[in-house]
């Protein structure tokens, strides 16, 4: 199986140069909010910055190519894990896990980070995603509370959902993220922007009063709906206050130039690579500590040698050997990109640790077997974050172990007080902090 990957958009050296520059930044001091709500929220910053990056590719992975056969530490790499073999001591593979009551085939992609039950059913209501749960508590410590990224086709889907279950549209432009993080406006632009933010806040004050005046005539259930409006106003107001504080602080400088967005939908691999590059910059410069990346190869014919069909139709492979082979080419490309990402994070140092040690990288899919649209036995791995890695933690294939337990562990590793997330029953069994 040979997979063709085009020339990296940003060379590894360019990244290392970027890293060199940012390392000179005293990240904690420089990034500490100094006033406003940001300062309040950051009264007790954890001594060590902890970060989280969650990546989902939404069409499943061929199980036989992913899961190792042996449990514990002495597993023989599967074809996909072979591609990230150099990091085997830095990740844990999980099998026999899934989100309880999360079904509905493709619909389960909505619940990958939320674990909300029955996403495919009519009247489904989503709940808060793992990253947003953390963002509510630590988001204000960085310029960008959380980054919600999409590498995909036409829509703006993402993995991130607010507390009321509303999807945060995925950002598709690497350049836009780069500009938000690094491109400083002229003083006049900053002033205008600050003015706009203040006008925005006065508008919010005003409409909040409008909503109060509306409250009177509503029944209890109706009032719950209006309460969502009040919450939205309050949340957005908080964000505008934050934005204003950050607007007036200098942005970090990096040597890597602004990326040029890849517009060709089918350049899946190149787009993944570009986004992972921006992800790494975001983490290195402590621009954000919470990132989700949704990879949705739907309606794409990825430019990979040997691939001629649209990804989604290939996943309905009907166990045709040549189609499985084509699918494997696409999936393997994901792991090549993951390998590059992990290498990059390991290569960047922050104080005495690597960036990878401080970044939990979750990678997986919402489907176990895409051909049958099955949402059990999800392919999942967790890299970095300072755990005792290297294992294959195998659970029951028939009675799956609840995956939300892993999310509780991840939240705790972020330094958050959380003992429950969605349908969790505890913390991840067998996963220990190093």
């Amino acid at each position: 199986m040979s997979t063709h990957i085009a020339q990296p958009i940003l060379s590894r050296r360019a990244f290392l140069r970027g890293a060199g520059i940012t390392l000179a930044l005293p990240f904690l001091e420089a990034m500490q909010p100094v006033f406003g709500a940001a300062a309040k929220a950051a009264v007790a910053p954890s001594a060590t910055p902890r970060r989280m990056l969650a990546i989902e590719t939404n069409m499943g992975l061929i199980a036989a190519n992913f899961f190792p056969k042996e449990n514990g530490h002495d597993w023989t790499p599967s074809p996909y894990l072979e591609l990230i073999q150099q990091h085997r001591r830095d990740f844990t593979v999980f099998s026999g896990t899934s989100h309880p009551a999360v079904d509905g085939g493709h619909a389960a992609e909505l619940a990958f980070l939320t674990a909300a039950a029955h996403p495919g059913a009519g009247g489904f209501k989503n709940s808060i995603s793992l990253d947003q749960y953390a963002a509510e508590q630590i988001g204000t410590r960085t310029r960008i509370q959380s980054l919600t990224i999409l590498v995909g086709s036409e829509n703006r889907h993402s993995l991130s959902f607010t507390r009321s279950g509303v999807m945060i549209p995925g950002e598709k432009s690497a350049a836009a993220i780069y500009r938000r993080m690094f491109v400083q406006g002229t003083p006049a632009e900053v002033t205008a922007r600050v003015n706009d933010l203040r006008v925005g806040r006065s508008v919010l004050d005003f409409v909040n009063d409008s909503a109060k005046r509306m409250q009177g005539g509503l029944g209890p259930r109706d009032r719950e709906r209006l309460d969502q409006y009040f919450t939205s106003v309050r949340d957005l107001e908080g964000q505008l206050v934050e934005s204003e504080a950050w607007e007036q602080r200098p942005k970090p400088k990096v040597a890597v130039p602004e990326p040029k967005d890849i517009t060709d939908n089918n350049l899946l691999v190149q787009r993944m690579q570009q986004m992972f590059g921006v992800v790494r910059l975001a983490l290195e410069t402590d621009s954000t500590r919470l990132i989700t990346v949704f990879i949705n190869p739907f309606s794409m014919v990825p430019v990979i040698e040997g691939v001629t069909h649209e990804t989604h139709s290939i996943t309905h492979h009907g166990n045709r050997p040549e189609t499985l082979q084509e699918l494997a080419l696409i999936e393997a490309a994901h792991f090549r990109m993951l390998d590059e990402l992990l290498t990059g994070l390991k290569g960047a140092k922050e104080e005495s640790e690597t960036l990878l040690d401080r970044t939990q990288v979750l990678f997986g899919s919402c489907m176990g077997n895409a051909n049958a649209h099955d949402n059990h036995n999800l392919p999942m791995l967790l890299a970095g974050g300072g755990y005792r890695h290297g294992q294959h933690l195998a659970f029951d294939q028939k009675q799956n172990y609840p995956l939300p337990n892993l999310y509780v562990s991840m939240l705790q590793r972020m330094g958050l007080e959380a003992d429950k997330f969605a349908s969790s029953t505890g913390t991840m069994r067998g996963l220990e902090v190093a």
Partner: protein, 870 residues
Amino acid sequence: MRRRISGISGWLALWAGALLASTASAAPAAAPGITRQFIENRCADCHDADTKKGGLDLDALLQTPLDEKTFPKWVRMHDLVRDGEMPPKKKPQPTEAERAAFLAQVNSGLVANELARRTANGRSTFRRLNRTEYENTLRDLFDLPGLPVRDLLPEDGRADGYDKVGGALDLSHVQLSKYMEAADKALNTAIATQPERPPLFKERLYPGDQYQIKIAITGGDAVCLKDFQYDPAVLAQPISVKQTKPLREFEQEKLFPYYGSVGIFRHDDDAFHADFARFAPIAAGFYRVRLSLWSFHWEKGQVQPSSRTEVASLNAAERGVLGYFDAPSLQPTEHETVVWLNRGENLVLNAASLVPRRVGEEKGRAAEATTAGIAIDWLEVEGSLIDAWPQAAHRRLFGDLPLTQFDKKSDLPPPRRIPQGQRVPANLPNYKVDYPNQPLWTVTSSAPEQDAEKLLRDFLPRAFRHPVTEEEVGRYVGLVRTRLAAKVTFEEAMRTAYEAALCSPDFLFLHEPRGPLDDHALAARLSYFLWNSTPDAELTRLADAGQLRNAATLRAQTERLLNDPKAARFIADFTDQWLDLRDLDLTSPDKKLYPEFHPILRDAMPAETRAFFREMLVHNLPVRNVVRSDFAMLNQRLADLYGIEGVSGGAVRKVPLADGALRGGLLTQAAVLKVTANGTTTSPVKRGAWVMRKILGQPPQPPPPSVPAVEPDISGITTIREQLEKHRSDPACAGCHAKIDPAGLALESYDVIGGWRDRYRSVQKGDTPAVPPGARNISFKLGPAVDPSGALPDGRAFANIDELERLLLANERQLARNLTGQFLTYATGAAPSFADRAEVERILDTTQKSSYGVRSLVDAVIQSPLFLNK
């Protein structure tokens, strides 16, 4: 072993509910003893706390108060007993009197309980606009028909199938910040930035003057044509080998621009768009486009008559199809259309009906090719078409206030304009310079506060869809005053007030008071039902005058709204949601198995279904047409797929169907068949469940957890029926599948794109088939034969889809009951519940004489108390 059911506290709660609301029920309910007795005698054997068959523990249920959680269980019990499914046939049966008494008591108890719970809120829940309504509302409010804001907003939740249900329309800071952005965008588009009307662009563009088409000509994917023959003006003869001369040299030799006709062989694809890039709109607006098209057959350099009328589409770059236009054989045909274009949107011509191929990369290229081609002579653009200046959108915000030159030296911040850097989204070749260093113009007022008050008094009621108090106007004027005091221009201060209005709950939410709707709430409910948007001036006038609740007026307005072009929004949005057509693109057909599937066919699918629904609505056709009709709405591409002859061109029109036709009705329409399949295989379960949910209104119970789905196999060895039979041999599955599968089995005669099949397509084994229309090279085989036979749960058997449809038609009233429920959910934001059943039956009674005509149903729904009350 019969056991006494212990305790009746749950039932007592139910009974208490009935007493509380006894004014609502005509006859006082009988003693609760009947229910208890029935359960003890007829149910407790299997459903007591020990046995709990099917997970139902009536001991526990009777101990639990009747509330929102236990209510559905009681409804299900009621329905199973009513339908004779419980007690099961093999058990002793209650007498009819016993059954009737039980049902009557449970019914009145449930109705009373539900009505009691409903008093606090009403049937429906306070809700915000969904994003489609939001976009339409902004468009109509500002008279900006193409304003694109929908896609800024996150997708809306759906409940009971529709994004109109309050409980699913959640709100968060994400939406709120997008509403601010959208308001900004609308205001940017609406506000005039100069006192003079922008110059009218009017020009005829030639295909041989467009970069992409020149590339196609020199690459062999298009040819120059003159007098229906090859024109050697640019290339002495059609190329036969790869042409190496760069385009630049052709241009230097003045071979381009070429002003003749160009015949195009290549369908739009990732690398080719026949982009008429010599024009890009500088301002969003309506543009008149004319173009001249014809088709031909290309025989190795010779132009010959084409075998059929080809069809080209005109697209807006990035946004998609604006329209389809016929290109008859060797007959240049002029088309004219008026389209909305956003700033910077190029026009692209797509030779849509051609089978995708790359003549320019084939051996022998254009010189050796035998292929169909579409010729374009020219394309004219005129616009933007503006009736008056400043445009209506601006006048709705600023009336006749003058635009004056902004003094750049003043200490006020300049008026908000699209930043210079972003002013030219594409290169705008038709305007060499996009107003560089123009003076800035801004709306001014000599009496700002009075003008603000006047403008807001006009704007706010229209935005909020109800009258606005003086105090409320005053609050908004106060906001303007505060801004003016902070030293901003009048225009800027007004913008803040308008932005606040557009982000306020008064605009974002549909405010319906409890109990009977007032005239304005009714006007809004009516217009969001039939136009998916805000009421117009006439509806508002009637509401202001307090006349809308008059039944005759309401009926006349229903007619008026349905006859208005804006009703197309209802037709599209309702069918998209009712029939799941929104999900049409969730799967793409396997290219090997379905090589005849192309975008032009995909676009024809929802067009058929919409046209069909429109036909039913316009002509008040009986609801039985949902299952079976003696006509179909087709264009040539669909007729090709369906194997129906004599339909030529791209327009969808009414085609009578012969007896024994395999089409007619919704079930056999390509859109429905595609959306109920994945791209590779069909599943009788999925299609059967869809028919129950959408057509019969009898949604199946959800599958039990932990049952693995059937894994599709297209190797051509086993059929889905064989796989399913294994699955159904489990008695735990058999009960539900006996109901779900029949319709799906009959629909097995239709493949994943809606084509008829007698045998399954397979990628491995089988015979070689004929090439289907729309395909060129095929590699699939014909596998096992399709068996579309089956039997309904009551034993009535069918051999095929034709016989199944006849069986479904036996219960027209159920079809009407379902459609009424769909309309009610869409129109009122709440699915008809148990307590609404009597009213639904009344609606059916009043429409029975029209054989449940679809328009009669819409009308009866609107006249119903369910619509007239919150």
